[in-house]
Symmetry: C2
Subunit: 657 residues, 2 copies
């Protein structure tokens, strides 16, 4: 799919690149028809992924985020997950702050952010959990909720005592070890558990050795890997690893990397974590403390140098980044280290959800290509993916169309920006055509603004997916309002940077697809024209009332994206499914009103124009089945315009031919 | 698959060509991933197939056979089913002779022959059943057995009374009507029921009109269509149809066609059926009564002329042929009428079974390509096709390897013929290589006989599938004993006469496949060579003890034949499945002993040579995953020979490269 696709949906974030590039393990998750995996849970665990990457010498990275303070901050963080996920982190983790109601259902809670990362962004995620001053019941409730939401990994921390007068309780949660034990006791082996290590010793520990012993206890209690506090010198960490190994800690130990991003943030962090910044670093940054750019640049260079030493040591399988919810510095460090996946290989054309229940999902309708989060939300109650293998006589039971109230589906643009893009005042239907056309071309509209999104596409047209731009412009300005399309592909290598996906050595294919809104007058001509394209072109034409015209089988899905790979069955991840199209049509029409019409006053001419389109236009999808030939779909539209432009008597003839 | 495939397995017999060529109904049966059909049973019935063909004006034909007297006659009849099935009959029917123990489990019983036609030949079949002198219990037992065996259609007949002293019984089966009623009463709507019509009136009926009324009663009792007794003049039948319609018989009425094939058979038939041969026919054949060829030729011409009149009348949707178990005349008549499917479109690359339980089957392992009956037999207890969708952790539970005892799997050649083909006396392993090579080339062996079959291939190499002959010859004479192969195909039209299958407008694909036996010395070199072809080539190498060497996933099947069609999901009907390969290997190795070694005396040198091969050779399959490129499999074998021919030190180097 190349048109108007949000990057989110297309450039799959991939949290474990090893699954794709080597041993074929990802196959288990990506082939609809594939072998049910005997013991999927075992090989799908974070600890197993680490084990495989360590064995193959394939370094990884992970990213730490903290929950945002506001709902709009949450929307932005989710976008950042999508962007940073595309670089291929092995996992991300979300911190836990007891004062912020972290286990609640609020948009900004740690629980909700981590759940969104797993379910909607497809990221392997680690949820932090602190136990200090908590009851066992409360902790168990958090664990059960995490489990329910599809979270599989916990970072077990003591957390800072609230108030000064904290004293150890007998049988309470005094140390992270108690939490680790509790998790193993309550949830057996369900969660992968991470614990914190302190390369210079925990500030409250009696001694470095005493702290090491505590760490050993945490691991012995059942932790699977260690992430360390940040540090500034590679040798600090390497000594720490050596000391850990010496006392019998054998699990992976991941260094916490903090690229210095500013003078003040560094000072604050150092103060909070009771760390000391080495003299040689202070000497460099003190003189440039007011030059943010210079400090950032130094911070990147310093982190890169240190990471190189760490990786070269052979003691470091992966790097853990304290991102402070920023992306530039971390991505730059990862790029320079060669760890950032510039062209992340996608296991499937869409982002695979990391929820354990969904990991067998390997086919989706094409309609939600730009709204994958909505699709995931509306199908979250399914037991099976696809539900009833598409088109079972019982309908797939999509969830209610309330998704536009969900924070992770909110437009990132405020109302004012949307009005600037889509028009403070619409004159007629043609004004709407112009908005679509400007979105395609990237040109500014009369008021001088670029149209960066549409209700059906929250991101600008991806630059590398502009293959169809000229054709799209031509038809949109005449009222064929495209919202989704893909070109035909006849066997490109699975490694193709634009259209490739799936394991190495395979070939991917697509049937050309085009989806658009257009007026009922156009539909009349289109139907006339489509007769000439039988049976090459399949179509579904529907209006908001559900009037449905099609030449396709009423239940049979049409596979429009598939891949052939060495040693496995065919994978067909994208289909045009007649049944789910009826659900999508409700959503697609509703977006006219919910996201566009409601920007304007009730009864205003602008609002009535959008309402008119909503009430009278049709939503059409076209598939060109003859994938080895050049797509005929543009010719279909061209023929429709030609018929519309011809004198009435010619049209009559046309209808008889 | 083109090599050494028995025609049976490859040139699918197709009993309902309408299902492939038009409305797309066959899709329901042929896509593994396709929509489960809501009401498959309803549209899959013979009556529904007739209805569709009548509506589309698509004339059909059907073929009547009688059960053979001997087991070898049964083997020949089954081969004839396969051959005549490929012409596209809508159904075949098998007659019922109470004196011949027709409901028994004997190889020659009507029940077993009809069951074989359905289950192993994939033919829609109608089982005759007569009720005269039968108890209700006996009839019900027959019906239940027929149901169990997958039979769905019954031709309900009174049958000839046994003995002279038959009298009507009160409440007994006095007429076919009673049988129709009984079937409907016992089995509700399960069976499609056919009854017999007599264009000149039943010989025992009081009058023509009386007989018509009886026919009306049979139809009213629940029959779905009528097949008539043979006749010699088109107008006889057309008047009969008119008279039937006049008294309210509305169901299809199929004329029984009898191409005259000899003077004596005609006289006998006429005597038995109490018919009169018209004067104009007797005048022609009396003078040539000793010239069989002339009579056959006349019979064909006469039948063609009559059928043309019948079809042109618009009253005849299909023709029913009394074949007398011969094929030449009927096929010739059908050819001249244009009803014989010269290039039958195959819904799948292999013959789809007509058993209702198997109709959803849409994928099979490639290994049984030449032994589809064995595959069907060994999987007959499966509830699902494939069982557990391949590679479920529970093994597919293939039936025991006793299939070579089954009559429909017996070699059509007697022991003497096999010895002539495969050698009265084998000198060494090379003698065996020669047998394989002669099978490939079609040349005569030293004793002057052609090798028409091998234990793994009961039919000669199909002439149109000789694409790989040169390569096959070259490798077989050096001890790479091929038993199955297919070339790569990169998107040929589904209508391709050689490799095409499935609905119109699609494209079919194949990965190159090669399967062979070879010595352990060759395997050592082959493994060396295969390293160069990673990951392009997947292999499984196994000996009779089950020593198994592979670079493929242990559970994941590799799709090697697939098709892309308009408006539907991908169909992938042939796979190389690691699990079922282990079952196939037992069968493939056993055939060395059961079919070949046992031709020779115990302890004889010939027998020991075959036994040696059985004990020491490996069975290998190779898949070239890179289907768009020319197959590299021949190069792999070539490289193996080169390595074997090179001096030992070079081999050493090879192993280190």
């Amino acid at each position: 799919m190349v048109n108007q696709r949000a990057d989110v949906g297309w450039q799959s974030s991939k949290s474990d690149s090893s699954g794709v590039s080597n041993s074929g393990e990802s196959s288990k998750e990506s082939s609809r028809c594939s072998t049910p995996v005997q013991d999927a849970d075992r090989t799908d665990r974070l600890r197993d992924k680490m084990k495989r990457r360590i064995e193959s010498g394939d370094h990884w990275f992970s990213l730490e985020f903290f929950p945002p303070r506001t709902a709009s901050g949450a929307v932005n963080l989710i976008s950042r997950f999508d962007r940073m996920g595309s670089g291929g982190p092995l996992f991300i983790d979300v911190t836990w702050h007891p004062a912020g109601d972290p286990g609640s259902d609020k948009e900004t809670s740690s629980m909700m952010i981590a759940s969104t990362a797993v379910n909607y962004c497809g990221l392997e995620s680690v949820l932090h959990l602190t136990c200090c001053n908590q009851t066992k019941e409360k902790i168990t409730a958090h664990l059960n909720k995490a489990k329910r939401l599809g979270l599989k990994n916990i970072m077990a921390l003591r957390g800072d005592p609230i108030g000064e007068d904290w004293v150890e309780e007998d049988g309470g949660f005094n140390y992270a070890t108690d939490l680790v034990k509790h998790i193993r006791c309550e949830c057996d082996d369900y969660f992968d558990i991470c614990v914190a290590g302190y390369p210079t010793g925990h500030p409250e520990a009696e001694s470095y050795d005493e702290d090491l012993r505590h760490l050993k206890e945490k691991v012995d209690a059942g932790a699977h890997f260690i992430v360390t506090q940040l540090f500034f010198r590679a040798e600090t960490f390497l000594k720490f690893v050596k000391d850990c190994r010496a006392i019998g800690i054998t699990c992976p130990i991941l260094p916490g990397i903090f690229p210095i991003q500013g003078y003040h943030s560094l000072r604050q962090l150092v103060k909070l974590s009771k760390l000391e910044v080495p003299e040689e670093i202070m000497q460099v940054i003190e003189p440039i403390k007011d030059n943010d750019a210079a400090i950032r640049s130094y911070g990147i260079q310093q982190a890169v140098e240190m990471c190189k030493v760490l990786l070269a040591s052979g003691e470091v399988p992966g790097l853990h980044f304290y991102t402070l919810n920023r992306e530039v510095a971390t991505i730059e460090v990862l790029r320079q280290l060669g760890l950032w996946a510039e062209d992340p290989r996608r296991p499937l054309p869409w982002a695979v959800s990391a929820h354990p229940k969904r990991k067998v999902e390997d086919v989706r309708p094409i309609f939600w290509a730009s709204r994958p989060k909505s699709y995931i939300y509306r199908t979250q109650d399914w037991d099976d993916f696809p539900n009833g293998r598409w088109g079972n006589s019982s309908s797939p039971a999509f969830g209610e169309l309330t998704d536009y109230y969900l924070f992770y589906l909110k437009s990132k643009s405020p109302k004012e920006a949307l009005l600037q893009m889509w028009g403070e005042e619409l004159m007629n239907e043609e004004s709407v055509y112009e908005v679509f056309t400007n979105y395609i071309t990237g040109q500014t509209n009369p008021s001088g603004h670029k149209v960066m999104c549409l209700p059906w596409n929250d991101d600008p047209l991806a630059p590398e997916t502009n293959l169809l731009k000229d054709e799209l412009e031509k038809v949109n300005c005449r009222g064929v309002l495209t919202i989704n399309s893909q070109p035909n592909i006849n066997g490109k290598p699975s490694s193709d940077p634009i259209v490739g996906w799936g394991p190495a050595g395979g070939y991917v294919f697509q049937k050309a697809y085009l989806e658009f809104f257009t007026s009922s007058e156009n539909v009349t001509a289109l139907l006339q024209v489509l007769k000439k394209y039988e049976p090459r072109v399949n179509y579904h034409i529907v209006n908001v009332q559900g009037k449905n015209i099609t030449n396709a089988h009423e239940m049979q899905p049409n596979a429009v994206t598939w891949g052939i790979f060495p040693g496995r069955e065919i994978i067909q991840p994208t289909v045009v499914d007649p049944v789910s199209f009826m659900y999508w049509k409700d959503e697609a029409f509703a977006l006219w009103i919910e996201q566009w019409a409601k920007l304007y006053e009730d009864e205003s001419p602008s609002r009535m124009i959008i309402q008119y389109i909503h009430d009278n236009y049709f939503l059409i999808n076209l598939v060109d089945n003859d994938f080895p030939l050049d797509s005929c779909l543009w010719q279909v539209i061209e023929d429709m315009f030609t018929l519309l432009d011809s004198p009435p008597e010619t049209q009559e003839e046309g209808s008889q031919s």
